[in-house]
């Protein structure tokens, strides 16, 4: 008993099996996490090595180079880049995608063990750090405060950060813009000198006093007592009364030489949200945790947290990354439901039967729901890729069901009993249904083998489509015939309403059939004209592409409503100046964007030493970091790319701004950002490479299509260098390190002790008054304690002003500087890269310096190459499947020749809509290979069938074309209409899949129209050639036979003569 016979004979079992599948699918759906992209494994490992006191160049030579040389041999390494800064070397290893990061880490660790002996003795052990997208904050909470500003850190730490950190999945919670409390002891240099005291004395006196100690235990009577000394301060004011030095009766207290200030840390960042000062709470997730789940948990807890805050503290959500994810998923879900609706309408229009339409409507969601089981089982998530996949699949899954349904209907109309019709009808088409699924699998399966960044996206799509297609085929061969046997019946009488509705449609379709038949009739008689016209169409489309020009980009820019903007004033600018500029910009932007701008937040100032999040980002008194959050893309008129361009213009207009970097998407992903042309300048000489970089950057900035340019190398930082005289130091019995530590203590402060209150620890910092460290003279006047009294810096050292060499960057073991140009909206990456290339090729570049294009253009080229190979592989596979089905090489060849028309269609569609050619539209092109050939298969298969039934060549082509027009139109329209919501979608994230929809619609429309005309003509050409060949063969055979008849005697004689001769020849040597 075959599958379909079993299914038809056991309807209860069949329907329950599929019900079970649906239940499991829905169960999986409920459990599926939601995310924006499929899980992208980390592919980057960083190696940090600290080397105190070494300059950037020393670090480069002694640390970075040996590390790079050894690590370069780790398997699967793509690029090794490094940053050598003052005292630290950071080597970043970028691996190929798709390898287990834990294995790679172990390999890196092994290599580090090998090299560790040859590293400088003073350098610390290298630390391995895995970077992943998990480091990106998922939630930003803005805090506005007034009276509580000073205590904000503690308030937030106790009431917000700690409770949030307890939520499952939350990684770190950092607070920015709220300075921490600090006890500052400011010493007066004059008084210190008068009392002949050193800073170290004061600091150690405070540390010595501020201590609790256990002195042991004593037994008194029957009890054992613990003896303790309690010296820790209960109040910061107690520090004032500590004796620093005494001389008989005369005592010097701290208050005599210093001022104790219980305040906040000196250098701190300030954060302003919508013009009001406050703080920023940044929540990062744990590795592997689901961001949507976490943000939901956080959002649930927020009202609770707000209750515990003082009334002047406002806690609001500034950025919730899950909003964008949810909106995107929501708009995709909407897209899918529209696609489903369109498909159902098409099926009804063409089949004209309620029951048949109902069957299709039941089978579509089933295959889709079943794919959730796969997602759940493999730990996948509901994301943009898996959902677009459903949207793509809708149009395809109906095809199998339609073919079966149509054939069963034919059988019923011939008078079969529905049950018999279902079994035999399915039996007849089973092979071709399986073959057409195989062509689809031939297209999608290779997608699972793509490597690199695009592989991450395509892998899931490939698997999902393979699974959906397999399920839809098995359901078409079991569930659909079962439903047909139960629901379909010969319609002997149709209702009046139905007749009035359907008759015009019927008439129109019949008319279409007639027109098409006439057209084909003409076409097969003028087949060379048709072929010529088709070829001309293809050539014309290529010319159009050349003339209009299709812009290429790597990945469409994703509008998540977030912009981050880092603005640098000239180095050394004070925080107050930064605040002024930031205020001006914030005011301008809030006024211009009004309601569209949900939150405008900026942070200025230098971060404290122990702020992990802030220390990962660039900060300094001259740097302003903006965080702008806009309403979702469908609620505002301006696209994010346009907004970014406007922001850049504003930055350009302010003369105080030295550098600015506006990043679309808040810089949270390397996918979906704005097009950036990246140029790498390799060369050893730092000055020369910098010159090249600056020239290139300046010339790029002149072009109107460039919005901003950035040079990766930072500017020289001004510094004051204290040069101690070694002889003088030796005379005073001082070491260089002791002398420099003394100066450090006076400026940065010595941290010898902590003040404890309510279980919290605060730093007690002892240093000079702020006024006493504002000039070079101040430093020269500083006192360094020696065994023979204090000595001034000016007596043993000179100070000179200079600049610290910048960070030395290297890539693949060569020094490098990168110039990045962000292109404005409407300009394609290819243009920017071309322009940049023309600049540096005409530049006078010194010997030893090379410039090359890299970045996303390199990725784009890589993925283009991958997709190209993939395309060829797919074409071969599809050809094999078709050749196997037809048992012929000619027919697959005819069908394959229709694929170029799909590409013409894509080109025209992209040109017409002004869509860029990117990875999504190319994906559409690849999918089309499978979809397009399906039409050809249907047409050729039926023509061949008619030929076998004894029809003449032309008649079979025309009759087959007429009879297959509707099925072809129906399957094509379901696919096209299934894509329409994708192509015209306006929802959040629609810009990502629009190119896919546009290319599939364009390609499929053009190729279907052409296939319908071209394939019958081509079939006739090959068919008539076949006939002619046959005739020629037969004629030759006939002539040969005639000749044989005539010359039989002669030929046999010749032969026998030859034989005789031959035998004499062979026997000759024996004689």
């Amino acid at each position: 008993m075959s599958l379909y016979e079993g299914a038809v004979r056991r309807p209860i079992m069949t329907s329950l099996v599929f019900t079970a599948v649906i239940i499991f699918g829905l169960f999986s759906l409920m459990k599926l996490p939601i995310d924006l992209y499929p899980d992208i494994d980390t592919n980057t490992i960083m190696v940090f090595t600290y080397y105190n006191g070494a300059s950037a160049e020393d670090v480069e030579n002694n640390l970075t180079r040996p590390l790079e040389n050894t690590l370069n041999s780790v398997e699967h390494l793509k690029h090794v880049t490094s940053n050598s800064k003052d005292g630290v070397s950071v080597v970043t290893l970028e691996f190929e995608y798709g390898y287990d990061i834990d294995n790679l880490t172990n390999n890196v660790r092994d290599k580090l063990d090998m090299v560790s002996n040859s590293l400088p003795a003073d350098a610390n052990t290298p630390i391995i750090f895995k970077f992943s997208t998990d480091m990106i904050p998922i939630l930003l909470l803005s805090v506005q405060a007034q009276e509580s500003q000073k205590a904000l850190y503690k308030i937030l730490d106790d009431n917000v950060a700690n409770p949030l950190a307890r939520i499952d999945g939350v990684g770190t919670v950092s607070i920015i813009g709220a300075p921490e409390r600090e006890i500052n002891v400011y010493m007066d240099p004059v008084k210190m000198e008068a009392y002949n005291l050193s800073a170290a004395q004061v600091a150690s006196a405070i540390a010595a006093e501020n201590q609790n100690a256990t002195n042991g235990t004593v037994d008194i009577g029957t009890l054992t007592y613990t003896v303790r000394t309690e010296g820790e301060f209960d109040d910061s004011r107690q520090i004032n009364d500590i004796v620093v030095a005494s001389n008989g009766d005369g005592k010097v207290y701290v208050k005599d030489v210093a001022r104790v200030v219980d305040d906040v840390e000196e250098r701190a960042q300030q954060t302003y949200t919508n013009g009001r000062q406050g703080g920023l709470v940044i929540i990062q997730k744990q590795s592997g945790a689901n961001s949507v789940a976490i943000s939901n948990a956080v959002m649930e807890q927020l009202p609770e947290l707000r209750k515990n805050l003082p009334s002047d503290v406002n806690l609001n959500v500034m950025v919730n990354t899950s909003d964008n994810i949810m909106n995107t998923i929501h708009s995709l879900t909407e897209t899918i439901s529209y696609a489903m609706l369109f498909v159902v309408i098409v099926v009804f229009l063409f089949l004209g039967r309620w029951r048949a339409t109902l069957i299709i409507t039941i089978t579509i969601p089933m295959s889709l729901i079943a794919s959730f089981i796969y997602l759940y089982a493999t730990g996948g998530s509901l994301n943009m890729i898996s959902l677009s996949c459903l949207s793509i699949a809708i149009g395809n899954v109906v095809d199998d069901a339609i073919v079966v349904l149509e054939n069963v209907t034919t059988h019923i109309e011939r008078g079969s009993d529905p049950k018999q019709a279902a079994i035999h009808g399915t039996n007849e088409v089973a092979i071709s249904v399986i073959a057409s699924t195989l062509t689809m699998i031939a297209v999608f399966f290779p997608l699972t083998m793509v490597s690199g960044m695009s592989g991450v996206l395509f892998k899931q799509l490939g698997w999902m489509m393979c699974i959906i297609m397999t399920i839809s085929t098995s359901s078409a061969l079991s569930f659909t015939p079962m439903l047909c046997s139960q629901m379909l019946k010969l319609q002997k009488k149709q209702s009046k309403l139905f007749k009035t509705i359907y008759r015009p449609i019927q008439k129109m379709l019949d008319g279409l059939d007639n027109v098409y038949e006439r057209m084909i009739n003409w076409a097969v008689r003028h087949r060379w004209t048709i072929i010529l016209a088709s070829v001309l169409f293809f050539i014309a489309s290529i010319y159009i592409m050349k003339i209009v020009g299709i812009k290429s980009e790597y990945f469409p820019a994703n509008d998540n409503g977030r912009v981050s903007c880092t603005i640098e004033l000239p180095i050394g600018s004070r925080k107050e100046k930064a605040k002024e500029v930031a205020d001006e910009l914030a005011y301008k932007w809030m006024k211009r964007y009004g309601k569209d701008l949900r939150a405008c937040n900026f942070t200025i100032g230098q971060a404290g030493d122990n702020n992990t999040f802030a220390s990962l980002q660039s900060n300094g008194s001259h740097i302003i970091s903006f965080n702008l959050n806009y309403v979702p893309s469908n609620e505002r008129d301006k696209g994010l790319v346009v907004i970014c361009d406007e922001l850049r213009e504003d930055c350009k207009k302010i003369p105080e701004i030295a550098k600015y970097r506006v990043q679309l998407g808040g810089g949270n992903s390397n996918m979906g950002g704005q097009s950036m042309a990246t140029f790498e300048i390799y060369g050893y000489d730092l000055t020369e490479t910098m010159n090249v970089a600056e020239t290139l950057s300046a010339k790029l900035a002149e072009n109107p299509m460039v919005g901003q340019t950035n040079i990766s190398r930072s500017d020289y930082v001004p510094e004051l260098v204290i040069n101690f005289d070694r002889d003088k130091l030796a005379k005073l019995n001082l070491t260089m390190s002791a002398a420099s530590a003394s100066v450090r203590n006076l400026i940065t402060g010595s941290l010898m002790s902590f003040y404890r209150e309510d279980g919290e620890e605060y730093d007690i910092k002892v240093r000079y008054e702020p006024d006493a460290r504002t000039s070079v003279d101040n430093i020269l006047d500083m006192l360094i304690p020696t065994q023979s009294g204090n000595v001034r810096v000016r007596d043993i050292a000179t100070i000179e002003e200079s600049a610290i060499p910048p960070t030395i960057e290297r890539k693949d073991r060569q020094r490098i500087t990168t110039v990045t140009a962000v292109l404005k909206d409407g300009y394609a990456l290819s243009d920017g890269v071309e322009y940049g290339r023309s600049i540096y090729e005409n530049m006078d570049i010194p010997a030893g310096i090379t410039v090359q294009v890299a970045g996303s253009y390199e990725d784009q080229m890589d993925s283009n190459r991958d997709l190209g190979t993939l395309g060829i592989l797919i074409i071969i596979l599809v050809f094999i499947v078709m050749a196997a089905q037809f048992e012929s090489l000619t027919y697959p060849f005819i069908i394959m020749l229709s694929v170029p028309f799909a590409f013409s269609g894509i080109i025209l569609a992209l040109c017409l809509t002004g869509t860029n050619l990117n990875i999504m539209s190319m994906l559409g092109g690849i999918m089309l290979i499978g979809i397009v050939v399906k039409n050809g298969i249907v047409l050729i298969d039926y023509t061949q069938l008619l030929r076998e039934r004894g029809y003449g060549l032309i008649r079979s082509a025309v009759a087959a074309a007429r009879s297959r027009l509707r099925p072809i139109l129906m399957t094509t329209l379901t696919t096209i209409l299934g894509m329409v919501p994708m192509a015209v979608g306006q929802g959040v994230g629609a810009e990502m899949w629009r190119p896919l929809g546009v290319s599939v619609i364009g390609g499929l429309t053009a190729s279907t129209i052409l296939t319908l005309i071209y394939v019958p003509s081509m079939f006739c050409i090959f068919g008539s050639n076949g006939i002619k060949n046959n005739r020629r063969k037969m004629r030759k055979q006939r002539e040969l036979d005639a000749y044989w008849k005539e010359h039989k005697a002669e030929e046999t004689f010749k032969k026998s003569k030859k034989k005789q001769k031959h035998s004499t020849d062979t026997t000759a040597p024996a004689e």
Binding site: G415, Q420, H424
Partner: protein
């Protein structure tokens, strides 16, 4: 006794069986899958790419009086579904063991 050979489109299977059982004809021999083509009308049933459908065939030996009714009923069945195709041929049984 008459021998009746019925060749029909597979889709008729249940109908033919029903006719037989209604007439209480218990004995028959069936060929589930046979190929065949009609002389005048109807599509061939060859199980091929061009003609995918197949026939079944039954030979049943019935008393003379029943043979008439059976032939009538089969004719009725065929007339109801002309597109499927059903043919029946009757001849004499000369000996039986």
């Amino acid at each position: 006794m008459k021998a009746i050979f019925i060749a029909y489109d597979q889709a008729h299977q249940e109908n033919v069986m029903e006719v037989l059982s209604r007439m209480n004809i218990k004995g028959y021999t069936m060929f589930e899958q046979v190929m065949g083509a009609g002389t005048k009308t109807g599509d061939p049933h060859l199980g091929s790419h061009a003609w995918p459908t197949m026939n079944s065939a039954i030979i049943t030996i019935v008393p003379d009086e029943r043979a008439v009714t059976l032939m009538e009923r089969l004719h009725e069945l065929d007339a109801n579904n002309e597109m499927l195709g059903l043919r029946a041929f009757q001849w004499n049984v000369e000996k039986e063991i």
